[in-house]
Amino acid sequence: MVIKYSIKTALNGLKTHKSRSVLTVLGIVIGITAIILVMSLGQGAQDLILGQIKGIGARTIATVPGRQPKGPTDFISMFTDSLKPADLLALSQKKNVPHADGIMPVVFGSQSAVYENNTYRPTIFGATELFSKIYNIYPEEGRIFTNDEVKSYSDVVVIGSKVNIQLNGNGSLLNQKIKINGRNFKVIGIFPKQGQSTFLNFDEAAFIPYTTAQQYVFGKKHFDRIVVQADTEANVAQTVEDIKITLRNNHNITDPTKDDFFVETQAQAMATVGTITSVLTLFLAAVAAISLVVGGIGIMNIMLVSVTERTREIGLRKALGATEKDILVQFLLEAIILTALGGAIGIILGATLSFIISLVLTKFLAVNWVFSFPVGAAALGLGVAAFVGLVFGIYPARQASKKSPIEALRYE
């Protein structure tokens, strides 16, 4: 039989049982919608997180004091004061770390900030003028502090948008004095609103020169991080090695397993996060796939009912010259059309829902979420749906094709 007529016949068969066809398709629609939704949101989440890490810069290398944690119970409790000014000095020298483009010590902690009668506890970062460049964030009002201000232990602060709001509502604090740990700081810059961020929440932070932070705010001599920026991405690995060698020299460490510091790169963080979100997405998609199987069994059930109900029609077609293959193709096509239709609707529905969710996230939660349509997942979903139709349709279709024409014609 001509394939065009096979499809027409199958469509007619489905049309005569409209409500039944619609309900059958529903199972597949739900399954595919769930898969597309999970894949699309998973992709969005991954893009978001990776984007934030990228924002920090692929050339950025963070040296962290303490031993690298080896498991969930292995806290970074030892040697947390292992990064000393001598290390900063050593790392700053071109002969030790030739590919360093910039080096920035960081100290941080939580401290109260007071303005008039308002108190807020932002995270205080002590850093250098480099952090704007490294984190790619610049004040909306005012300026960042200068190298001179760092050297001279100046009492200047650049605050995040939420710090400003908490201390002074909608009025700008630029050029006002706020008290941090009882010391007066002049607000010289205010950062723009960043929204929810996974790693560094700039909105709730205040940046001051690290010298001032060490001396007057936290009273510590060591650093919590030493951030090094490599000159090119290609030189990141070399620079990591240079940093390790320099610090081991400085700390008299010969056995690398006894390091009292560790070095993190963004590439590592991205790889880790990428793996975690991919695994999570896959897991959720697998859960969603179960509903597809359930939908497939639903299709098989309905097709079996349909075959029994249309026994006479099958007998008639056979008596009129239909071969077993003709009957098989007709019923198989019905199942595949049902599932493919369900798949197509599911893809549209899933993508629409995902788009709405991305809109909600961007508009109302101020998350920098980018809607992504997972073309691969859509193709996979459609393929899986048609495959489900084939697998669960073949049994009823075979049952139909094997019917003897006289038995079928006698069937009441």
Binding site: M1, V2, Y5, T9, N12, T16, R312, E313, G315, L316, R317, K318, A319, L320, G321, A322, T323, E324, K325, D326, S404, P405, I406, L409
Partner: protein, 238 residues
């Protein structure tokens, strides 16, 4: 050569170890163009015989040749082709696709025929004209009267111009007037178009439209006789 050659045909049904003979040692020939009625009470084995003649069922003994060939000479696909091109079936319960138009019902055998689609409409319309239903072309078959339904079924049986038409109690579900009209049509097709017809019935007045009646009783041929006073009701023929 006779179109149909039946010799010592046997058919026994085996159900759970109980064997029931339905056809016992039946032999007869049917020539091209003949109109034969197979008559007998219900349970006499006449439907079983028709199924074997129509290559829908297989005999348990004896031989049956259609156009010189037995069922075993064909593959299943070739059997479907023979049924499609050389045989036409008319059933007691019409067996039309109910929510489908008259035209599309008649087209059904064409779907499986391998004939080019561009000829389908013309062929189907001609067959519908032959049974006098041209004015019902686009009607849903479910909305037709019983007599009209049976005539659609006949158009469907005719559309590929088969060598033989098998009619299994075609008037069984019809009132006498509609039944009469259906029989007139069958008779006319036999006389004007030369189709060989094998008619199954349990009614004497229906059988009397045929040229020859084979009486079957308990699976055996009881009598094989020529119809002397054939029914001719010309007034029903258009």
């Amino acid at each position: 050569m006779a179109l149909i050659e039946v010799s010592h045909l046997e058919k026994t049904y085996n159900d759970d170890g109980v064997s029931t003979p339905a056809v016992r040692d039946i032999s007869f020939n049917v020539q091209k163009g003949e109109f034969v009625a197979i008559m007998g009470p219900s349970g006499s084995g006449k439907s079983t015989l028709l199924h074997i003649l129509g290559f829908l069922d297989r005999q348990s003994g004896g031989t049956y040749r259609f156009d010189g060939k037995t069922m075993d000479d064909y593959s299943p696909v070739e059997l479907a082709r023979v049924r499609n091109a050389k045989m036409g079936f008319v059933f007691q319960t019409f067996n039309l696709l109910s929510r489908t138009s008259v035209l599309n019902n008649v087209k059904l055998p064409l779907l499986y025929s391998g004939i080019k689609e561009s000829y389908w409409d013309e062929m189907a319309k001609k067959a519908i004209e032959d049974v006098g239903l041209s004015h019902r072309l686009d009607h849903e078959s479910a909305k037709l009267s019983g007599g009209e339904k049976q005539r659609v079924a006949m158009a469907r049986a005719l559309v590929l111009d088969p060598q033989i038409i098998f009619a299994d109690e075609p008037t069984g579900n019809l009132d006498s007037k509609s039944g009469q009209m259906v029989m007139e049509t069958i008779q006319r097709l036999n006389e004007e178009h030369g189709h060989t017809v094998i008619l199954i019935t349990h009614e004497t007045y229906t059988a009397e439209h045929a040229q020859r009646v084979i009486h079957i009783l308990d699976g055996r041929i009881d009598k094989d006789e020529k119809v002397i006073s054939r029914r001719q009701s010309e007034e029903f023929i258009k």
